[in-house]
Structure formats: C-alpha cells, structure tokens
Symmetry: C2
Subunit: 96 residues, 2 copies
Amino acid sequence: MIEKLEPAERRAALAKLDGWTSVEGRDAITKVFTFGDFQEAFAFMTRSALLAERMNHHPEWSNVYRTVTVTLATHVVDGVTRLDVELAEGMNRFAG
Amino acid sequence: MIEKLEPAERRAALAKLDGWTSVEGRDAITKVFTFGDFQEAFAFMTRSALLAERMNHHPEWSNVYRTVTVTLATHVVDGVTRLDVELAEGMNRFAG
C-alpha cells in the first residue's frame, strides 16, 4: 500500500525537485513548464504520458501552446507519495 | 486574414458540432471528451495535436486520467473562427 510522504520526507523531496511547489489548499505538487513552441511542449507531454502509463500513475495537466501546467497527487491516499516524486523527476528530466 | 464568425454562422456551426458549447464570458467554444482510460484519452490528444500542428492552430486543453477538456478560440481575433470549427470537427472525428 502506497503511503503519503511524512512532512519531513516531503520537504526533502520538494527541495530536490527543481521548480515544483505545493498546491495551495490541496495536498498536491505543481509546476509550470514552458517550451519553445507547441511541438516541444507536446513532445514533453508524450514522453511524460508514456512514463505515467508505465507507472500507472497519471498527471492532471493542461496545455496552452508552449506551456504545460502539471499537478501531481496520489488519489487513493489524497496526498503526495513517492509516485508523485518519481513522476515529477521524470518530467524534469524530459524537460531538461 | 481570418475573421470571427458572424453570430448566425456561429450558431449554425455550433448546431452541427456535437457536444460543443459556447464558453460563458468569453468568445470561445468548449467540449469535455470522456474516454475509457488514459491511453484512449492520450491517443485522442496525440491525433488532435498532429492536426493542430498541421493547421498551426492549437487548442487550450486539460487532461485528468480519461477526461480531456478542450477550449478553442482564435487568439488573433479574440473569437471563434472557421479554424476553431475545423479543429473541433477533427476532434469529434477522432473521438468518434
């Protein structure tokens, strides 16, 4: 069973996750990714989608032209878990 | 130069676009697409992205698991044009 990160674990994980912040009023993390154009943004989404599908852990995200806004949380525990940290790390790599 | 649809044209176009409605308080159209799972939702997004890129006309959209919410408008005229209708028709076909 997946468990929510303890506050200290979560702070430590967020500190290492470039650009990710806690969502106000909800136990989730978020980041806005900005690319050169739509092609780059959607290429990032495609790589992220494949990782998400392999993990069976999916983002909430929106895209407007070259911007992708991502929110991650683990619904079954209504909070942030290592799955969110892992997916966030992957997305940072893909955007890198 | 692309032009906003006249009110009558727009009504006629929307009447033929299954599931699309006007956005409250903004000159745009919107539809929520629901699929069987994330794979189907993202497959739809991929086909739509390729069409959008070919048209050089891009959606504003968000995805949560098996749901894709799309908003279409033509930014240069701040309203709905034939490009939005064309992209909406394509998305309906892909979701079909």
